[in-house]
């Protein structure tokens, strides 16, 4: 009989744990999709600064991964997701999203095309029942492979140089493309993708190669000050990049308990993903109707005066009427600005006469601020080095 002692270790440790645990000087961990994830290794500011100035490593193993293979893989993904997966070239990656029948978001994620009939979905939440239901009538196999792939995110302006020093020639790898390299008798897939809005790569290997890869990267990257980062620093960078996180910036439709909490891709600023010409996909009819009728909500980026983070604050129109809420916010060290991502009723999408009420806790007293906000374009931080090919050599 299997001894039932799983409750003693409710969080699973990633294949990199043997390296990340001793480096985590603060012992700051948090749960992430059932995994033990480092929130911070020692100093958030140092970690954030390394993302924007050097090279950083973030353990991505907790991302949920599904492999989709079979004759109908492209058709299946076209029916599942809002974007055109058939147009994605082999070796390409696309950011995408998928909805329920009502056109409400279930998740967003990245889709990797490894072969004509071989895709990998990488996302925040778990969806196997939905993916299997969607597979009825298609000649595809859908399998969760989260634990079969170890993944690291290598981000920062020096990341290409680190990879080159590690022996991976990725200079000419374009954004949203991937390449394969031999590594210690196995192989490594490197994609030019990331969640920081900076130059960066994601590395995918067999879990057996996880620790050798870590050691190899840290040896090769030492001259560039490579360092591990936790979720807190990454969150700062992703807010600057204007990326959204499922269950933080919107509630996925399969988890929302209140029927008015669900949001469509149009309402979350993801309308640009939708391929209206590709034919039927789940939620298409509802989204087409929403496009005609108009959306109820809009997702906006905000610039807020001062330097107090507006996280969780309520927005007001004319300082009086409630008009949405800030879902993520941070003081941006790179831009020297207080940034926020917010859901607002669609009529306030332009931000006219829009205010944020911030309760700043200062030594057991709230300071209440009512500040005018300005709707600004996302991404807030968008350096040219993110896109430059060949990648910058430093």
């Amino acid at each position: 009989m299997t001894p039932l002692r799983h409750y003693e270790t409710p969080l699973r440790q990633t294949p990199f744990h043997a390296r990340t645990a001793p480096l985590n000087r603060l012992n700051r961990w948090g749960p992430w999709a059932g995994w033990q994830a480092a929130l911070c290794f020692g100093d958030v500011d140092m970690e954030y600064t390394a993302i924007r100035n050097a090279a950083t490593v973030y353990d991505l193993c907790a991302m949920t991964k599904y492999r989709v293979t079979g004759r109908d893989a492209a058709d299946y993904l076209n029916r599942l997701t809002v974007r055109n997966a058939g147009k994605l070239a082999v070796g390409g990656v696309q950011y995408t999203a998928w909805c329920d029948d009502a056109g409400k978001l279930l998740d967003d994620g990245t889709l990797f095309r490894h072969g004509p009939e071989d895709y990998l979905i990488c996302c925040q939440e778990r969806h196997l029942p939905w993916l299997l239901d969607s597979a009825i009538g298609f000649d595809v196999q859908v399998r969760e492979v989260t634990e079969e792939i170890a993944a690291l995110s290598l981000q920062g302006p020096c990341s290409a140089s680190v990879l080159a020093a590690a022996g991976f020639d990725i200079w000419n790898l374009k954004p949203f493309r991937m390449a394969e390299f031999p590594f210690q008798g196995g192989k490594i897939t490197i994609s030019r993708t990331g969640f920081t809005g900076d130059l960066g790569y994601e590395l995918w290997v067999d879990p057996a190669l996880a620790l050798p890869l870590w050691d190899h990267l840290f040896t090769a990257g030492a001259p560039w000050g490579i360092r591990p980062i936790g979720t807190e620093a990454l969150d700062l960078a992703r807010i600057e990049a204007g990326f959204l996180i499922t269950n933080l910036d919107f509630i996925p439709a399969h988890q929302a308990l209140r029927e008015d909490r669900v949001r469509s891709p149009l309402e979350m600023g993801l309308g640009w993903l939708i391929d209206w010409e590709k034919g039927q996909f789940t939620g298409r009819r509802a989204l087409a109707a929403e496009r005609v009728r108009g959306s109820d909500w809009a997702f906006v980026g905000l610039d807020i005066p001062g330097n107090v983070s507006a996280a969780g604050s309520i927005l007001y129109h004319n300082q009086k009427t409630e008009a949405g809420m800030v879902t993520s916010a941070a003081w941006s060290p790179a831009l020297k600005a207080s940034l926020a991502l917010a859901q607002v009723p669609a009529r306030h999408a332009e931000g006219r006469n829009l205010w944020v009420e911030i309760y700043a806790l200062r030594e057991l007293q709230y300071v209440k601020l009512m500040l005018p906000v300005r709707v600004v374009e996302r991404p807030f931080f968008n350096p040219a080095r993110k896109r430059a090919t060949p990648a910058g050599r430093v």
């Binding site: 329920d100 029948d101 939905w130 239901d133 009825i136 009538g137 298609f138 039927q280 789940t282 009819r285």
Partner: protein, 477 residues
């Protein structure tokens, strides 16, 4: 160029009802039927050289009055029921329970009559979008029952029929009749919750079973009168262009185009096989796969050398007690055959000239036996034994026996277990066939569901087909 305004798929009662209503409204309608003659489960088939029997249903509780007006069908006088030998005509029953039966039946009939008009209107939906005046009328009729009666209706509406039979009656023969009639065609035993509502549903269709003059074949002919019905035309798929249904493709490869398609076929078959996953949202496609269609009614046909010595004009219900019905139900839960099936027997040839035939609906047959052929043989043998006990000498009169098990009915008529969707409380009204599809429209523009899978269900009535046509006409006047 389309040669007609509307295609109706399936020439069963609901398909024909839908077609009649559309034609009445001036549409040029073409009905496509896979079999060689119209009728579907309500048709007639030769099961032994020279012997014809009703295909599946052998009686109706009454056609929808709206349909009967357009396509009148002559009926024999209502059938007298012989419940285990006891004569029952509507509220009048023989035996020690006569007064109790009359009281119970009158009460249930009152409830059924208040509920009946709901059958002939769109299913009211709690989410709104209802036509208020008919709903108000129905509400007032319910209120007019009075406080005590309404409370009694609320007490009974989701109760099991066994409790009612025990509470209100003492004669096991009448208890057996009530239990049998309530669960006829359902995957429920008398002790299953929500079984009485099916009896109310039955009474809402009519007070007593009727047989069409000339048999079920004549009923199908009468309903098809004036319609263009193309037989031997099996639909392979619905043609969809730019997300609109624009026609159908037959198994022969022939394409028939029309701007409007009403499928009176099984809703799951329509959505899964004719439309297909690629044209539907994943959630709806999955839910269509979960429409409950279990059934345990088998159909028995006997070719006889002569009719047995009995009142052959009556409907014989062989269900000696409510417990006997429950005991016949228990084994099917485990895929097994009951030792003493319960059944409804009629002799169509006693009403209309023809070689002597017995037609019986036999319950309960396992819907998914591990060995279908062995189960069929066992079910037949057990049924013949029950019949022999009830009609001594019947065995020696029998020339040929045909038993259609639920899976045979599926194969022959495209009705999984004789169903377009079980009539069960969770699959009634706005949940029929599925929440979201309850007003007969499908997400595919131009494609409608007109079969018994829709509100209010089947039972040789035609209301579902007619309601579908009304919904179509309302959307596209």
């Amino acid at each position: 160029m389309p040669s007609c305004d509307a295609l109706v798929l399936g020439a069963g009662v609901n398909g024909l009802a839908c077609a009649q209503r559309l034609q009445q409204a001036g549409r040029k309608v073409l009905v496509l039927e896979a079999a060689a003659q119209p009728g579907g489960g309500a048709g007639e088939a030769e099961f032994f050289p020279g012997f014809r029997a009703p295909a599946l249903a052998h009686a109706t509780m009454g056609l929808d009055p709206r349909l009967a007006k357009v396509a009148p069908v002559a009926m024999h006088p209502p059938l007298v029921t012989l419940a285990n030998g006891l004569r029952v005509v509507g509220v009048v029953a023989e035996g020690p329970d006569a007064a109790r039966w009359a009281d119970l039946h009158a009460r249930l009939t009152r409830f059924a009559q208040v509920l009946a008009p709901f059958r002939r209107m769109p299913a009211p939906h709690p989410g709104g979008g209802n036509a208020l005046i008919p709903l108000l009328k129905r509400g007032l009729a319910l209120k007019a029952l009075g406080r005590d009666e309404l409370r009694e209706l609320m007490r009974l509406i989701l109760i099991n029929v066994h409790d009612v039979a025990e509470d209100e009656l003492t004669d096991p023969r009448l208890q057996g009749l009530l239990a049998f009639d309530a669960t006829l065609g359902a995957w429920l035993g008398p002790r299953s919750p929500n079984s009485l509502i099916l009896y109310l549903d039955r009474l809402a269709r009519g007070p007593a079973p009727l047989m069409p003059v000339g048999g079920m074949g004549a009923l199908a002919q009468a309903l098809a009168k004036g319609l263009e019905v193309r037989c031997n035309a099996r639909v392979a798929r619905v043609l969809i262009e730019s997300e609109r249904a624009v026609g159908v493709v037959l198994t022969s490869g022939e394409e028939i185009r029309a701007p409007l398609i009403a499928s009176a076929l099984n809703p799951r078959h329509t959505l899964h096989d004719l439309v297909g996953a690629r044209a539907l949202d994943a959630g709806l496609h999955r839910r269509a796969g979960h429409i409950r269609m279990r059934g345990a009614a088998a159909k028995l046909h006997l070719a006889l050398s002569a009719l047995p010595e009995t009142d052959t004009k009556a409907r014989h219900v062989i269900a000696p007690s409510s417990d006997a019905v429950e005991r016949a139900f228990n084994p099917v839960k485990y895929g097994q055959v009951p030792e003493a099936p319960v059944m409804e027997v009629v002799f169509p040839s006693a009403h209309d000239p023809g070689p002597p035939v017995l037609s019986a609906i036999v319950q309960y047959a396992p819907h998914a036996p591990s060995d279908p052929d062995a189960a069929r043989a066992q079910m037949l043998s057990n049924s013949l034994k029950v019949l022999e006990d009830h009609f001594p000498g019947l065995r020696s009169l029998t020339l040929h026996a045909e038993l259609l098990m639920p899976q045979d009915i599926h194969a022959r008529y495209g009705l999984p277990d004789w169903h377009h969707g079980e009539l069960a409380v969770e699959q009634m009204l706005f949940n029929r066939p599925l929440h979201g599809l309850h007003r007969h429209a499908t997400p595919v523009d131009g494609l409608w569901l007109a079969g018994a899978g829709g509100h209010p269900g089947g039972g040789i009535e035609g209301a579902a087909g007619w309601n579908a046509a009304e919904a179509i006409l309302e959307a596209r006047p």
